[in-house]
């Protein structure tokens, strides 16, 4: 599976990742509970070691995304283990490890854009199965499937599938069908139908926090299809779509459920012990943390519900300071940024990269701005930093898409008995 050509193994990068984790572990050493510290240190450093070996085995041509992923996963495991006293967050660590492996698997699946495009019927099928599971298995319009030993949020897994559906190659865009004299691209119709379906299901199960993420992915997907590959630029189409978008926003605003209306209009400072409790506590924690924080384990936000998921930014700010929290956020954004630094070599991979960038940016914006009371609280997680297995796994798969765009493979499988192709020049 090794790539040909000069390998770009970055042993120095891995040493720096190890050093950064070791420095963070040193900072929390005075917290006491030495047994837990040893567990945490061994786990984080082992993940770095396993990561570097996997990188050597899977591919060495582009490892920026993997290096950032390993750095962020180790950092988030240390953060999660320190909230409210040092205790190794083994669940978070385990899901982090699975996310890293999921990243490698998804990279191998989509690194060949021709094969990934051919698998589109499979993506549509998986999309349908996941929507059905949301409708049938979550029970009473919920978003969780309780398997007893574990709870799964199927809508999280819809995100990578939806990104795969949004990406499209030039060849697919040039294939047109005609029904009753109306010309259309079947793949574009599929994307529009999927967008409508996911919006309807999310509305039905009251998971409105994820709607902006899906809307952002659909918008960038549609932009790449209708405006970059446009056959005829139409100002009327832009105006029509703009009016439709504004009308949809107004309708959503007016028809939103009562609890959403309450969040949109509530003043958290007038109801500090009620609906504004989490945000008030979060804002106070950010302010108390200052530049360098109160110290790992010395915060009080851990007693508030969802402190390690929805309020993760405020929790890191409180214990580690604004510098660390902003750095963690920037590092997560490094992943799509690295994917955009090395320009994708195919339209399909370009679609995947901007789709993943849309997911990461919108989710982080919703979470952080929600914590800071700039927008209503949505309950969306920060990729890789918040606790949650479904979110972690889904983000790991998305990171694999970014890696695929950086180290692509352009091979059309030759049928058995077919004549292999020769050189080009």
């Amino acid at each position: 599976m090794k790539e040909s050509g000069k390998a770009l193994a970055h042993p120095l990068l891995m040493v720096l990742v190890l050093a950064a984790h070791a420095a963070m572990l040193l900072v929390i050493l005075p917290m006491g509970n030495f047994a837990e510290w040893v567990k945490l240190a061994c786990a984080v450093l082992t993940m770095d070691f396993i990561g570097s070996i996997v990188l050597q085995l899977v591919q060495r041509q582009a490892c920026t995304v993997d290096t950032v992923l390993l750095l962020v996963l180790g950092m988030s495991t240390i953060y999660q283990s320190c909230f409210g006293g040092l205790e190794f967050a083994w669940k978070h660590y385990l899901f982090g490890l699975i996310a890293f492996l999921a990243c490698q698997v998804s990279y191998l699946v989509v690194r060949n854009p021709y094969r990934a495009e051919r698998l589109k019927p499979l993506w549509y099928t998986l999309f349908g199965i996941l929507l059905l599971s949301i409708l049938l298995l979550t029970g009473s319009r919920g978003i969780w499937i309780d398997l007893g030993f574990i709870t799964i949020q199927p809508s999280e897994f819809v995100k990578p599938i939806f990104v795969l559906i949004c990406a499209s190659s030039m060849q697919t865009q040039l294939k047109k069908s005609s029904v009753l004299g109306i010309h259309f691209v079947p793949d574009n119709l599929g994307l529009i139908l999927c967008t409508v379906l996911i919006a309807a299901v999310q509305w039905w199960c009251r998971d409105l926090g994820s709607l902006p993420t899906f809307a952002a992915v659909a918008l960038v997907g549609l932009y790449l299809r209708f405006f970059y590959l446009r056959e005829k630029f139409s100002m009327r189409l832009v105006v029509f779509l703009g009016i439709c978008g504004i009308a949809a926003c107004i309708a959503a605003w007016k028809l939103a459920p009562a609890y959403v209306q309450e969040r949109l209009h509530s003043d958290i400072w007038s109801d500090m012990t009620g609906s504004g409790y989490q945000q008030v506590k979060g804002l106070v924690a950010i302010a108390e943390g200052g530049w360098f924080g109160k110290g790992a384990g010395a915060g009080s936000l851990h007693s508030v519900a969802a402190s390690n998921t929805d309020l993760i930014f405020a929790s890191i700010c409180e214990e580690w300071g604004l510098f660390s929290a902003v750095m963690a956020v920037i590092l997560v954004l490094f992943m799509p940024a690295a994917g955009l630094t090395v320009p994708p070599r195919s339209y399909y991979h370009a679609g995947l990269t901007v789709g993943v960038a849309a997911v990461f940016i919108v989710q982080m914006t919703l979470n952080i701005f929600g914590s800071c009371n700039l927008i209503p609280f949505t309950g969306v997680t920060v990729p890789f930093l918040s606790q949650g297995g479904s979110s972690m796994l889904s983000c790991g798969i998305l990171a694999g898409f970014l890696k695929a765009a950086q180290a692509p493979q352009f091979t059309i499988p030759v049928k058995k008995g077919g004549k292999p192709n020769g050189g080009a020049a």
């Binding site: 050509g5 000069k6 990068l13 720096l16 990742v17 050093a19 420095a23 963070m24 040193l26 900072v27 005075p30 006491g32 041509q61 582009a62 490892c63 920026t64 290096t67 950032v68 750095l71 854009p113 021709y114 190659s169 030039m170 060849q171 040039l174 970059y228 446009r230 056959e231 005829k232 630029f233 360098f292 924080g293 109160k294 110290g295 790992a296 384990g297 300071g321 510098f323 660390s324 750095m327 590092l331 490094f334 940024a337 690295a338 630094t341 090395v342 320009p343 994708p344 070599r345 195919s346 692509p408 352009f410 091979t411 059309i412 030759v414 192709n421 020769g422 050189g423 080009a424 020049a425």
Partner: protein
């Protein structure tokens, strides 16, 4: 020495801040190194692409069109990767694709067709070095080049 972490940090706030800053500096260093690595990967990606695609490019008179991605659209439309301003050329005329180490050319429902080495193109065919593509009044020769991105 039975002292809690909160008391410890309260007693020595400067040391606590120094420790956190120490960790942040290491993370920052790591981020900086990753940024530099990303830049190096970009250069490596360009070289790898040029090698994989045999550095082929299209030449039309004095103009050179490097083939920087696996799908290159040729046409009159502003969105085309290689834009040729000629009324005989369709908005989206030809598509070059790269797979299995070879460049292929196919007609994208053009009005006036494509000729490769004087023969009309009826289905997708492989492009080789020194092949001549005729699109409208334009003649484009496949030549070896440096493989820079046509969209940059």
């Amino acid at each position: 020495m039975d002292i809690t972490i909160t008391e410890w940090f309260t007693q020595y706030p400067a040391l606590r801040e120094g420790l956190t800053a120490f960790a942040v500096i290491f993370v920052d260093l790591c981020a900086l190194a990753i940024l530099l690595a990303a830049k190096r990967e970009r250069n490596h990606s360009d070289r790898h692409w040029a090698k994989e695609t045999h550095g082929l490019m299209l030449q039309s008179g004095e103009e050179y069109y490097p083939l920087g991605s696996a799908e290159i659209l040729i046409g009159r439309h502003p969105a085309a990767d290689i834009r040729l301003d000629d009324p005989e050329i369709s908005r989206f005329h030809a598509l070059l694709t790269f797979s299995n180490g070879q460049w292929h050319i196919e007609d994208v429902s053009s009005g006036n067709g494509i000729k490769v080495n004087g023969a009309c193109l009826t289905k997708s065919r492989v492009l080789r070095n020194q092949d001549v593509i005729a699109i409208g009044k334009r003649r484009m020769r496949v030549v070896r080049g440096d493989g820079k991105d046509v969209r940059s």
